[in-house]
Amino acid sequence: MRATKRPGLPLSQKYGKYWYKFSRNRLSIVGLVAIAAVVFVAIFAPWISPYPQSAGLYVNFNQASLPPSATHLFGTDEYGRDVLSRLMFGFRYSLELVVVVLSLDVIPGVVLGLIAGYFISRWFSTVIMRVADVFIAVPPLILALSVVAILKPGGINAFLAIALAWWPWYTRLVYGQASSIRNEDFVHAAQLAGASSTHIMFREILPNILGSILTKVSLDGGWTILIGAALSYVGLGAQAPTPDLGTMISDGSAYLPAQWWISMFPALAIVVVILGFNLIGDGVNDMFSSEIR
């Protein structure tokens, strides 16, 4: 008798169930659409923005401080730059931030959490968690401030600062779950079978935590943007003339309430982005929950 691998469920059926669970809640779809729109705008900003030159060094005092109109949908700022176009480029910076921070932080954070959770009684587990505790104890803004104070204020350094503050939350999340899953019978069975610790951590435990990790990643999309905007607002993030949502709010705040559009639209954009990521996070959470709903 030939021993061949028999095909399982067709892929569409396997992943269709995930989509079904995600889409049960209309709001998750709204979030997905919103963020998809943001991503699209960010990628194609140079081509679809009405006044791409507004994103750089550009001055046109004839067009300065115009309220929203047909030609400038979101108005212009004090230098005559189109707010909408700057917003679109601002999204680029925000999304760059999200991608950089999450790609730097998620994997090391998760791996450390797995190790700390599985080897919970060993000394290095304690070391890992105490180091994580130290980073968590410092408020992210303060941490970012100190990093930026050592390096110069600027885009990349803001990324690094946030990345430094972010990893321990993943470690904590994974540690909590891994330390309880390690006591499940199937982990004992794997140990009894002689499986290596690496196998157990990554093949037995991790798949069961994936849902929480992905949910957090989704929510973090919004959080990192918020922190990034906060840093920019105090002048530690992107430097002029790079358009960034936080900087735009800060610059425009001097002109409130008369020229409200300079600050308001970037602020609304931040709200939309965070809301979008939160709604996606909700949907991702649903995707991995095993309720019969």
């Binding site: 169930k17 079904y20 669970k21 019969i292 709903r293």
Partner: protein
């Protein structure tokens, strides 16, 4: 023949899941008289809990009652107004669940939980000392020593048996007519389960309550209830007086079920029932036991058999007992 207290007529219930609709209950008929002790036995996922939850309108949000009626004292429970339903739940009917811990809120003391229930089910306003007195009274009825200490405890400080007795005490507060007990002893040790079932029987007999006892352990049910319903895959396959059904089971499933229980007197490991419960997504059109029945006939695939009377008070839903298809033994 005692007056009927609860009547379930032709109940059909479905659950919505990703793959479609699970057609669980397929026309369930149950009646419980005043002061009567009735049992529902069957294996897991056969619909016993779904039946009683439908009766009390506690069905999960993805469940739907597609047909049927549940009458309590003649009133249709499924159509009742919120107010009437709440009043029924507060004063007349109560339920004891399988997991003693799940029914108790872990962050409140027993006292806090109990006082709430007493206050809500009382007709008049009670002072704190009156509530306390009643609480102690109920705990004593549930054979709990040191009621004051229990009242001050959190659920995690109590053992499984004690928690279940607390649940019984809670149920006594509002169950003046009907008690529903869903596998009350299953998660307890054998000797403790023995104690709890004796206590329950004593309480029910003393107060003249009706009880619906659900269990998958036939032995537990045998010494307790007067009449029993055997359920399989969402249908009642046999019903009748307990001793009769157990000593002379007529439905093939009941027979095979009883045969698959290992006997205390030895005799080797029984065979069990080959095959599996059919999927609720695509249940058979006819008798749901047809996939595993050794006496299967062509007519069994067609339509659900009705309950045929096989002996005094005993009935089995099987075509074997339909004169047209031969009355086989």
């Amino acid at each position: 023949m005692s007056m009927s207290l609860v009547q379930v007529e032709n109940l059909k219930v479905e659950y919505k899941v990703y793959e479609g609709w699970l057609k669980v209950l397929n026309g369930v008929n149950i009646s419980v008289g005043k002061g009567e002790k009735v049992g529902i036995i069957g294996e897991s996922a056969c619909g016993k809990t779904t039946t009683v939850k439908s009766m009390l309108r506690l069905l999960a949000s993805n469940g739907r009652i597609t047909q049927g009626k549940v009458t309590y004292h003649g009133d249709n429970v499924l159509d009742m107004s919120r107010g009437d339903l709440t009043s029924m739940r507060r004063k007349k009917v109560s339920m004891i669940f399988q997991d003693p811990s799940a029914a108790l809120n872990p962050v409140f003391t027993i006292k806090e939980q109990m006082y709430d229930i007493i206050r809500v089910s009382a007709d008049e306003r009670l002072s704190t000392s009156e509530v306390h007195e009643r609480a102690v009274g109920f705990l004593k009825q549930a054979a709990l020593p040191e009621p004051d200490r229990i009242l001050d405890s959190y659920p995690f400080q109590l053992s499984g048996g004690m928690k279940q007795r607390v649940n019984i005490a809670f149920a006594l507060i509002s169950a003046n007519e009907l008690l529903v007990a869903d596998e009350p002893g299953t998660s307890l040790d054998v000797t403790i389960e023995d104690q709890i079932m004796r206590l329950l029987k004593q309480i029910v007999d003393e107060r003249g309550l009706s009880i619906i006892l659900i269990s998958h352990a036939l032995g537990t049910v045998k010494n307790f209830v007067d009449r029993v319903y055997v359920m399989y895959a969402g249908t009642i396959v046999e019903e009748g007086p307990t001793d009769q059904v157990f000593s002379d089971p007529r439905h093939p499933y009941t027979r095979m079920l009883i045969d698959s229980i290992p006997k205390l007197t030895g005799g080797g490991v029984p065979e069990g029932i080959l095959g599996q419960v059919p999927s609720y997504l695509t249940p058979p059109n006819g008798c749901r036991f047809v996939t595993r029945c050794p006496y299967k006939m062509p007519v069994c695939d067609g339509a659900m058999p009705a309950l045929y009377s096989v002996a005094d008070g005993q009935a089995a839903a099987c075509y074997l007992y339909d004169e047209k298809y031969g009355a086989k033994k």
